[in-house]
């Protein structure tokens, strides 16, 4: 079996949407896209595909952020990475514009009704850092070092193209122990832990605790 690392293309969009959903669940049954926006898992998949097709760069929902590993032209692993604030706008605002533009009115209304409940776990990402998100390896291809290979590829791309960027960061829920161990293996360490007090958070997100991990890349 030969694995190839490459940038994502439009044909990868269905796989990336599936990867985002799996990664976002963080090892739980809770999918924030369904709880926060009041939509089914199927609709969440369609929603994510529509967003990825917009080709807006600079956040975790940008097609251009994704690196893919494929085998025989079939995507089997994915990871998003981007330089925070590279085009002058934060990834949070880019993602928000994408979501506002793409949501149906009833889903937007649902979101506005619960937004206060998740406010505590909306965390800024430091400018001019490499950000990683949505690391996912298809179940049939796990245990072969593909996650490590993807993380390494994202870091190497940042090293080559952004010599001023010295730090890589990521955010994950504390329940995502598999991802945490994977990142630790790639020399990331936990730097900050955010704990939400609002009990409603546990019904909307995979966990009420978010962890920031980082490492130097120089």
């Amino acid at each position: 079996m030969t694995y190839t690392v490459r940038p994502a293309t439009e044909t990868d969009i269905p796989f990336i949407a599936q990867a985002i959903i799996a990664a976002e669940k963080s090892g739980t049954d809770t999918l924030s896209y369904t709880t926060i926006f009041g939509m089914s898992v199927q609709d969440a998949g369609s929603f994510l595909q529509a967003i990825l097709k917009e080709k807006l760069d600079g956040c975790e929902l940008s097609l251009s952020s994704f690196t893919i590993i494929d085998m025989d032209n079939q995507a089997v692993a994915a990871c998003a990475s981007w330089i925070e604030g590279d085009d002058g706008q934060s990834s949070q605002h880019i993602k928000s514009s994408l979501i506002t533009y793409s949501l149906k009115p009833n889903n937007l209304e649902h979101f506005l009704g619960i937004a206060n409940d998740i406010q505590e776990l909306v965390i800024d990402r430091p400018l001019n850092t490499l950000q990683l998100e949505y690391l996912y390896v298809d179940a049939a291809h796990r245990g072969q070092g593909l996650a490590d290979k993807l993380i390494g590829a994202c870091i190497n791309t940042a090293r080559d193209n952004h010599p001023d960027v010295t730090t890589a960061c990521l955010q994950l829920f504390d329940c995502n122990t598999i991802a945490m161990k994977t990142y630790q293996r790639s020399h990331f360490i936990e730097t900050t832990r955010y704990i939400a007090d609002n009990p409603r958070v546990k019904t909307l997100l995979p966990s009420h605790q978010k962890i920031i991990m980082q490492r130097t890349i120089r």
Binding site: H93, S97, T100, Q119
Partner: protein
């Protein structure tokens, strides 16, 4: 201050829950600490609902400050 700018300021005050908030044409997201992703969604949807307009994705991306936002709203209102 134009009427559109004044109405936009009122919406900013509602979204960011600050009656004392004074926006300028040069105000950017980095000038308002509470302008996070959730409030960005609240702000855009509140502006769209109040003025009865819909921003295109490309338009949102080009907005660098409040002055550009108000100019865009006025352009849309003018049809």
């Amino acid at each position: 201050m134009t009427d559109t700018f004044s109405q936009t300021q009122d919406i900013f005050r509602q979204v960011f829950k600050s009656d004392a908030l004074e926006i300028q044409e040069t105000t950017t997201a980095s000038d308002i600490s509470a302008w996070d992703s959730l409030n960005h969604i609240r702000l855009v949807s509140a502006l769209e609902a109040h003025f009865g307009i819909k921003f295109a994705l490309g338009e949102l991306q080009k907005l660098k400050n409040v002055g550009m936002m108000v100019d865009l709203i006025e352009k849309k209102l003018a049809g």
